[in-house]
């Protein structure tokens, strides 16, 4: 029984780490620009497809392909910000949300035209399985956890220790004051879109390696990302990390011990429960309501 619990905890953390990556991108964009970037999931899937393309058609290795795809994703993110979100920056938030829905349609269906309807599994070659005291640890899952951890730590350093990261935090805290201090808000929004799209692409690659990439996966992914945001608090980076892991673990436990068909329902009930008890999210102290 204990072994079972630890096994499910491990599986949950692996899935949770992917949710965390998705949610981190969403939460930085939300923190800086107040946009619910619904197209994030389709960008992630696009990244997964392009990684597969680099590996299967151009013969690159897994990690170079992933890095290249993250760069392409970053460019795509900047393009989206410039073309679609920038013109509505002063309009009511609902407009940006509708734009996001339009972008989701465009990217999702472009994926379909460019890469076809078949599901794709990114080949990794990591097939070994470790066994520690009865707990099965597939090599691939261990690496996914490690990659996610490296990316999260890298992001934290970027945000906490660099000049650009400080500018991002300043804009998130107080936009007018940041502008008065001479911070170029335009550059910050482009930077944020590049960063979070690259993270989203990384998440897409991990999903493609662990499960599969197929049309329709992106919607589920982005909704889980938003669920994490609600759990952790919109705009909070520690909240995205904790929320992602909590969601992953509770979902895995629910599907292992209660019902796999209703696992998403349980995840959403958890979210609504958190809203009732602590509407500002698990990791936020100030009640922003």
């Amino acid at each position: 029984m204990l072994v079972d619990l630890i096994q499910q905890l491990f599986n949950g953390l692996v899935i949770g780490s992917i949710y965390t990556l998705v949610a981190l991108g969403l939460t930085i964009i939300f923190g800086i620009l107040g946009i619910a970037h619904f197209a994030h999931g389709s960008v992630a899937m696009f990244g997964g497809y392009i990684t597969y393309f680099f590996i299967a058609s151009l013969g690159f290795g897994l990690f170079p392909s992933m890095a290249a795809a993250m760069a392409v994703g970053a460019l795509l993110g900047v393009g989206l910000e410039r073309i679609a979100y920038y013109p509505v920056r002063n309009a009511p938030p609902i407009n940006a949300f509708i734009i996001a829905l339009g972008l989701t349609l465009i990217i999702e269906k472009s994926n379909l035209i460019l890469f076809g309807v078949d599901q794709i599994i990114i080949p990794t070659g990591f097939t070994r399985v470790f066994n520690v005291g009865g707990v099965t640890l597939p090599e691939l899952r261990v690496y996914i956890l490690a990659i996610a951890a490296v990316l999260v730590i890298g992001l934290t350093i970027l945000i906490q220790r660099t000049w650009m990261g400080m500018a991002v935090r300043a804009v998130a805290q107080n936009r007018p004051a940041a502008v008065l201090m001479g911070i170029n808000v335009n550059a910050v929004s482009m930077f944020v879109f590049a960063l979070s799209s690259a993270l989203g692409v990384a998440a897409g690659v991990l999903v493609g390696a662990l499960f599969a990439i197929a049309p329709g996966v992106s919607g589920g992914l982005v909704v889980k990302g938003f669920a994490v945001l609600i759990l952790g608090g919109l705009g909070s980076i520690p909240g995205a990390i904790v929320g992602g892991l909590v969601l992953g673990v509770s979902e895995t436990f629910a599907s292992a011990f209660i019902s796999s068909a209703y696992k998403d329902v349980i995840a959403f009930l958890l979210m609504i429960g958190v809203l009732l008890v602590k509407p500002e999210g698990l990791m936020r102290r100030s009640a922003a309501r």
């Binding site: 609902i94 949300f97 734009i99 829905l101 339009g102 465009i106 919607g219 909704v223 809203l275």
Partner: protein, 325 residues
């Protein structure tokens, strides 16, 4: 004055439509468009007038559709009764769902309602003994025939069902107009403009928000019932998040916070995809591009934009035209 003329012209066109256009396919589209207009008008109440974006309207439509279908199929209720109970059942579901979720605002609310729609969808797919799962429920009866002055009207006929949904839409429009123009409607608009201020002015905002949410959901449920008895077959697919987004799109496209906007928007979102029948995927890309362009260039929607244009032309001809709008 010109508004009354316009209204009469639209009503006459709607009444004459099945006789002018006799192709079954177009009447079918018109019935669907009218059903979507009811859903969009409901979305408009919560989104356009109250300022809360609900992404659960598709799911509520599903609750209405399934409850009406199952009441008439399994419980043996007359269809007319089932169709009236459906919005009430949807309202009960909306009260349960709305009470916790209306504690949060803005994007939080939108995301929670999105999750709600997914929950409804998952339940519809997995609760197989009741809903039939993805295979759906078929053999849903049409409303019983009624006789007016010895003339029997059967709703198995498409044209008659068209008139039925048209009457339903007219009733919904009357109801929504009455609500929007009442004190409650004013409070809802106050909440949209500045909720903190409304609260400070002594309004118990949560009651009005809950009312708005439940009212919009029961309109969606009513539309769902009309949909179920029209097609006689339902599956979970039309009640997914995609269709909630479609309703939001209809409201934005037509003009949110206007009474005519959602009607125009729903007609366009039903007709445009049919007209753009190049290929499914390209069509949706064009749709997405159109959406982005409309929000960037016509953020208030088509109806206010056209009204402005007309107002400007009229204003040029006779200077006092500005007030009649």
């Amino acid at each position: 004055m010109s508004r009354i003329v316009l209204l009469a012209a639209v009503a006459a066109a709607a009444l004459a439509f099945p006789h002018l256009v006799t192709a079954n396919y177009f009447i079918h589209l018109a019935v669907l468009a009218i059903i979507w207009m009811i859903v969009a008008q409901g979305t408009n109440v919560i989104q356009g007038y109250t300022g809360y974006v609900s992404i659960a309207q598709g799911g509520f439509m599903g609750i209405g559709a399934y409850s009406s279908a199952l009441l008439s199929l399994d419980a043996g209720f007359p269809v007319w009764i089932a169709m009236l109970v459906a919005p009430l059942a949807t309202a009960v579901a909306a009260i349960i769902a709305g009470y916790p979720s209306l504690r949060v605002k803005g994007h939080y609310f939108a995301i929670v309602t999105l999750a709600m729609n997914m929950v409804i969808f998952i339940v519809l797919v997995n609760w197989i003994p009741v809903t039939g799962g993805e295979a759906g429920t078929s053999g849903i009866p049409a409303p019983e025939p009624i006789s007016i002055g010895g003339l029997e009207i059967s709703f198995e006929r498409r044209v008659n069902y068209y008139y039925l949904v048209l009457v339903a839409l007219a009733l919904v429009m009357l109801l929504v107009t009455a609500v929007v123009r009442s004190r409650v409607g004013l409070v809802l608009q106050a909440i949209r403009q500045n909720e903190t201020f409304a609260e400070a002015a002594g309004v118990a905002c949560w009651r009005y928000k809950l009312f708005s949410f439940v009212f919009s959901a029961s309109l969606a449920g009513f539309a769902g019932a009309l949909y179920a008895h029209y097609l006689s077959f339902i599956s979970p697919a039309p009640f997914s998040v995609d269709h909630s987004l479609n309703a939001i799109l209809a409201v934005i496209l037509g003009g949110s916070g206007t009474l005519a906007g959602p009607l125009v928007g729903a007609a366009l979102t039903t007709a445009l995809p049919e007209m753009l029948r190049i290929a499914e995927t390209f069509r949706l890309i064009i749709y997405g591009v159109g959406l982005v362009l409309v929000v960037i260039f016509l953020p208030r929607g088509l109806v206010p934009w056209v009204a402005d244009l007309v107002g400007r032309f009229a204003g040029r001809r006779k200077d006092a035209g500005a007030e009649n709008r």
